[in-house]
Amino acid sequence: MNGNYIFSLITVVVLGLLAFFGTTVFGLQYLFGVIVPYACVIWFVFGILKRMLGWANSPVPFRITTTCGQQKSLPWIKQNRIDNPSTGIETIIRMILEIVLFRSLFRNTKSDITASGKVTYIWEKWLWVGALAFHYSFLVVIVRHMRFFTDPVPYLISMLEYFDSLFKIEFVGEVVGTSLQIGLPGFFISGLVLLAAILFLFSRRVLISQVRYISLPADFFPLFLLMGIAGTGIFMRYFSKVDIISIKELTMGLATFCIPDGAVLAGLSSVFYIHLFLVCILLAYFPFSKLMHMGGVFLSPTRNLPNNSRARRHINPWNYPVKVHTYDEYEDEFREKMIEAGLPVEKES
């Protein structure tokens, strides 16, 4: 029924199949394991740079801060220094809270009109919770993956892994029963939360009619892509025993520009190639998609400027002279009438 997500789903499936057949039937392990990853990383870095520079190249002509609290005015009126910052530091705090806690999203309400004709607003925190769960688990997963690119693995990453799996054991112990976790070496909570959060974000996109109405294929595509990545990742870790040693040989090789020989590449499982290829697609897709909100959030002029344009002049680099109606022109038109009315004039006729 909804072409938007069918199309995105099919695209992700096709991409997965590409990697599968490419490596199993056509023996393109070198392409999928080395060339594509390098190309995508380069593309990713330059793409992001290009995008960020593109934004930075456009000036900020006016200080259009959205003020969400009391301004700084009289000394005895308490300013809301976070939501209506007037200094650089205050603005930085506002930005940090925005980026780290999604503060604006936290305000979210849902409005409704009751049968008796009352407009109501209820605090709608689930999008905020889901968004935080998604982004933080994704962050943890990314940081954990750094173990594949470092040797020895830095202490911080090991620590993170430790805590990540710690949570999980308690959780499973309560919910599923102790027998299950015995065979599972360090089940990571982050992967599970990531998948659950993506499913939540996906289902709200499909189930809430308004959100469905505004959604584009470009909104479903990253969700399916991430589902694919998280799904293959979880599958590799807990269901198909992949050869971690060889994988690390490849990833370290990529990181140190010293690619292992063909036998190692050929020995890797096709699930791994699918996983890797979808990650590459994500990297390549990132700079040209809405995922660039990661950069945009830093550059949003309604958030990253203090509301102090009355105290300090903000400069517009392209400010240009405009045609105005001068006082002299005005007086020329109305002089007679002004004199008659006893209004002072510059020139007596």
């Binding site: 609290g69 009126i77 604006s104 999203l105 999008l127 308004q210 945009g296 949003s300 002029p301 009315a341």
Partner: protein, 544 residues
């Protein structure tokens, strides 16, 4: 009032999205659904493109030959000039957090009134013309659709006209967007692009051309402006026995006072104007009015940055010509967006003025150190704080007051506590509306940004629904019978909105309340308020 459905009907908002995708749903441009177009004479007076007689009902809007190129180049130019536009075009994730924050969406249920879709109307063109993704996808059949891109057509121009004039540039959406995407900014750009094609509305362009010529939106000529103010003084004398002789265009005054001309023209704004006159007399302020800069508001803001600058220039020019020390500004909404966020940048630096200092209390308004313009609520709050006003709040005892935060002073300035402090000192019965409808969450009157025109009354009533509904809440619960505000558009549009949704609630400016409470030196015993309504009549006139 034009024909509108009954409130019981209008409240039944159907917010189920249509079966067809939004790109396939044409806008409803029928009688009552569109603002009248600008007349050629105002465009000609302002040297604006494509003056002609046309109607949105026409099939052919008589666009310039190369209209497509004009829009493309216009958009390109604006992307290069405004980081806001570029970032807002690129970062939206369509999370929908902004969707039900717009009063026009809540009141109409029309999905294109969700800020995110309003923005997509322009974003889809941006994708097509300026993004790699859009261009690549266009190579495949059906690819444009999938990329959320579309080729600009004349029908899309009509759609823009419809929906960029159903946004009151209130910025409520930007409070809730996780990236601060401000759909008002997008609407402003959209309106600029339409203006390049000569698509403008009468209710904005007529005031703009008036303001350019006579110094105010209403086209009041200098001698009439003086007469009107003198007429207010006569009323004041009759009510209070105090004679006031304000000055006009007086060189050497300490302060230039500028307020929206709407308050010189129509009730209940006029009473607010009288409140200013009483206040300044009470404290013996050395101030003057200007007939040349006799407009605080700036409908240029609703047209283009350039037009805003052209109109706003008069404030500093006049302050400089008259040699005043600083400027005091009256109660107005969008005027304060212009002053707080644009004026100094556009028309400054105002180095011919001095740091504003209250001559009565000595308070330095350091927050206005550069712009040199102070809001009357800041000024009066400071006076009250220093005990410089003799007030009898019991004169407002027949009123049960609530306060509407106007969008611009709220979300483009943060003026929350100053007016509340003033109100609480001049009247005894004050109740706040619910949290989610005040301060930064405030709801627009539904008629801001030049939409306060009669022919789209239904749209305005829909847009005003959330605000009115919150007023109804305190009306039912606390017996509120007076809605106070610091905005001239509010004062003009709330009376019909209240009559429709919450009969029994009247509208006032904050300084009308001040004027009524002020105990003037040498005044006679007051028997009526500034509206000539008998004092002590606990019913007020509104609770008929």
């Amino acid at each position: 009032m034009v024909d509108v459905p009954k409130p019981e009907e209008l409240i039944k908002v159907d917010n189920k999205p249509p079966a067809k995708g939004w790109m396939d749903v044409p806008p409803d441009i029928s009688a009552g659904k569109y603002p009248y177009p600008a007349q050629p004479k105002s465009l000609k007076y302002l040297d604006l493109p494509n003056p002609r007689d046309w109607s949105p009902l026409d099939d052919d809007w008589q666009l310039p030959e190369n209209w497509k190129e004009i829009v493309h180049e216009g958009l390109k130019e604006r992307l290069d000039k405004y980081r806001s536009l570029k970032v807002f075009m690129d970062t939206c994730v369509r999370c929908g957090a902004c969707a039900d924050k717009c009063h026009f969406y809540i009141g109409s249920g029309d999905p294109k009134n969700m800020p995110v879709l309003r923005a997509e109307l322009l974003r889809s063109i941006y994708r097509n013309d300026f993004t790699a993704a859009g261009k690549i996808m266009s190579l495949f059949p059906g690819g444009k659709r999938l990329a959320g891109a579309r080729t600009l057509t004349k029908d899309i121009i009509k759609e823009w006209f419809s929906y960029f004039y159903q946004c009151s540039e209130c910025r409520r959406c930007s409070v809730f967007c996780p990236y601060g995407i401000d759909t008002a900014e997008i609407t402003m750009m959209g309106r600029e692009l339409l203006n390049l094609l000569g698509i403008n509305i009468h209710w904005i362009k007529d005031p703009v051309s008036n303001c350019f010529r006579t110094g105010n939106h209403l086209g009041i000529q200098p001698q009439n402006f003086k007469e009107i103010v003198e007429f207010f003084c006569e009323d004041i004398e009759e009510i209070t026995g105090v004679t006031i002789n304000p000055s006009f265009n007086r060189k050497g005054a300490e302060i230039l006072f500028i307020t929206p001309s709407g308050d010189a023209f129509a009730d209940p704004g006029t009473y607010t104007f009288m409140g200013y006159l009483l206040l300044f007399e009470h404290i013996g302020l050395d101030y003057t009015f200007s007939t040349y800069a006799s407009e605080g508001g700036n409908f240029g803001l609703f047209t283009s940055a350039e037009m805003m600058k052209r109109l706003n220039s008069k404030m500093y020019a006049e302050a400089s010509r008259l040699g005043v020390k600083w400027i005091l500004g009256g109660e107005c909404g969008h005027m304060w967006r212009v002053i707080n966020q644009y004026m100094d940048t556009m028309n400054g630096p105002a180095d011919f003025l001095e740091m504003p200092v209250s001559p009565i209390t000595g308070t330095k308004f350091e927050n206005a150190a550069s712009t040199k313009m102070v809001h009357i609520a800041e000024f009066t709050a400071d006076l009250i704080r220093h005990n410089k006003l003799k007030l009898d709040p019991s004169r407002n005892d027949h009123l049960v007051v609530t306060y509407h935060d106007s969008c611009n002073p709220a979300r483009a300035m943060g003026l929350f506590e100053e007016p509340r402090y003033v109100i609480n000192n001049v009247c005894n019965n004050f109740y706040e509306m619910p949290e989610s409808t005040i301060k930064e969450n405030t709801f627009c009157c539904g008629s801001g940004s030049g939409l306060n025109t009669e022919e789209i009354m239904e749209t305005r009533l829909q847009g005003g629904l959330p605000r009115a509904n919150a007023v109804k809440h305190v009306h039912d619960k606390n017996g509120v019978n007076m809605l106070s505000c610091v905005c001239a558009i509010d004062r003009a549009v709330f009376p019909p909105l209240m009559d429709y949704w919450v009969p029994g609630v009247d509208v006032t400016g904050v300084h009308e309340l001040v004027g009524n409470a002020l105990v003037m030196e040498g005044e006679i015993e007051r028997t009526t308020n500034l509206r000539f309504e008998p004092l002590g009549d606990t019913e007020g006139d509104s609770d008929e």
